[in-house]
Amino acid sequence: MTRIKRILLRLLTMSITLFGVAVIVFFVIRVVPGNPISMMLPPGAQEEDIARLQALYGFDRSIPEQFFIWLSGVMQGDLGTSITTHQPVLGLVLSRLPATLELSVVALFLAVFIGGFLALASTRMRGTRVEGMIDVANGMALSIPDFLWGLVLVLLFGVLWPVFHISGRISPTLDFQFQTKFYLFESVMRLRFDIWLDLVSHMFLPALALAIPLAAIIAQLLKQSLKETMHLDYVTLSRTKGYGENHVIIQEALPNAILPTLTLVGVQFTFLIGGTVIIERLFSYEGLGNMAIDAVINRDLPLIQGIVILFALIFTIVNLAVDLTYAALNPKLRHG
């Protein structure tokens, strides 16, 4: 099987998955008891007004018909119009996406940094009390999900020792005009480190809450993987060459131990992105997830559909990216 064929096959299964997600969301939502339109109108509205609005949003047609109208719109980049805000869904969703992406990526970096450090430290200190302590902490971090870590962090660093902000994305008092929605990135580019610091102080706790479970998984997998690698002959051989323990772990064992960890981290990263939904709510962070919950509560059907599809798209892209990275990093696949 050639490489191109493999990628095409992947793209095909990806589109089947996305289509499945679209079908499920679309039909689940339309079983909603209670007409979403009636919530938009004042009580005692005329029958014909209701009918007109229904026609406007296409709710007067049969469900399969609505689906294909919507799907053909999606193909052309039109996700419909939000019922609550009367704005195009695509624009709404894209305006919130950068906030969620920045949060997820910062959380991923935190997780890789913390998890990687713990794995290396416990490999370096194997057999000592430090290793045992790291194992215990890891076990705790693994069994508690991000939502609870978020609450714990709110209590610890928002209330008991208030050093970070626990709500919002940026202090409302800051008067700063952003050109893009990537605030964190933009503040660095424009060298406004005061703004950057404020953003980080808002983002740190939600990102950490998302990162803790993933960091624990990375630490555990990488440590296991390193442990197996450290017994291999090439590691011993590099010791006999005169290299110290740090070099042996980082230069010889680590590159080979990372590969098995990578695929699992990819899957876990999609879980992390899924976790942003509740974490953004918890920290009143204005991202996609927070918008999604509002949309569900307001029964804004087109917006819900748009957000779920966008999440599904992000998940499948992350999985594809992980597979491609794996192939690029593995020398056996690179030349095979």
Binding site: D233, T236, S238, N256, P331
Partner: protein
């Protein structure tokens, strides 16, 4: 003649009480090839590990000295010790399939010791590596340097490992059963190669093996190890003519002859084993009294 490796009274124990090596004495002179033989579990690989400082963490050196080219390794700081080891000794590992790092190209795996530990210039190290690959008859050394291990055959990788061991012009090379994992034909080539390289560079070679056939081909002297205890230390000629220890004699009878593979193989008789075990116990008793 210079003695490149001197091991004096080396005792290694598991935990605090269980001895793995029992007051081992061993010398390897310049240009000498010494065979170190014993059954599996006799502790022959542990000697190499003790020299390189790569003993498993559960094992400890409880007494003895290891002197490498005049340096008492046990008296050095770990950092100094690693430097001396990297400069003066090298290992030819057992299994060529697992002894090369799969994620790095061959070139850096040969030159890294020269550059990182010995401070050579990269270009010099590269020239040296090419020269060595040529010496072990590797075709297209330039291409091989750029390859990954999985692209090369097992015999090729073992020759690369041999070349790599000689890279830093070490005084001592310890070969840890380098032929066990290879098939008979490749085995023969590798033996020849090792011997040839050793002769050319005048290196002392400690050849760890359980195969007396191999020993007879390339060694000048032999040390027989049983359960961590040295039972015999003699020249090859003497050993094959008239071994001084009954265990050695039994070992010889238990080895198939290449000329006559079907000739009756004698297992080591239990009486000989009992006698050897008695010597081990006697050795332990002496140490307990001390």
């Amino acid at each position: 003649m210079n003695t490149f490796l001197t091991i004096e009274d080396l005792t290694v124990t598991l935990g605090t009480s269980c001895p793995i090596l029992r007051s081992v004495n061993l010398k390897v002179k310049a240009e000498e090839v010494r065979g170190l033989v014993g059954e599996s579990g006799a502790g022959k690989s542990m000697i190499g590990k003790a020299v390189f400082g790569t003993l498993p963490t559960a094992l400890r050196i409880t007494s003895g000295r290891i002197i490498l080219d005049g340096e008492d390794l046990q008296s050095l700081s770990p950092r100094e010790r690693r430097r001396i080891i990297g400069a003066k000794a090298a290992l030819i590992p057992q299994d060529p399939l697992t002894a090369l790092n799969p994620s790095r190209r061959i070139g850096p795996q040969i030159t890294n010791r020269l550059v990182d530990i010995l401070g050579w210039h990269k270009a010099d190290a590269r020239l040296r590596a090419l020269e060595l690959l040529d010496e072990v008859h590797i075709p297209e050394p330039e291409r091989v340097m750029r390859s990954y291990p999985h692209e090369l055959s097992g015999g090729m990788r073992q020759r690369i490992l041999i070349a790599s061991a000689f890279a830093a012009k070490p005084k001592l090379i310890i070969a840890d059963e380098p032929t066990t994992a290879l098939d008979v034909i490749v085995q023969k080539q590798v033996l020849q190669m090792t011997k040839e390289m050793q002769k050319r560079h005048g290196t002392a070679l400690l050849f760890v093996t359980h195969d007396l056939g191999v020993v007879s081909k390339i060694c000048q002297s032999i040390t027989v190890l049983y359960n961590g205890l040295v039972l015999e230390d003699t020249s090859i000629a003497q050993f094959f003519k008239q071994p001084s220890h009954p265990y050695s004699a039994a070992l010889l009878r238990a080895t198939p002859k290449y000329t006559d593979p079907d000739s009756s193989l004698m297992p080591v008789p239990s009486a000989v084993i009992r006698a050897a075990d008695e010597e081990v116990r006697a050795c332990d008793r002496i140490h307990q009294n001390v």
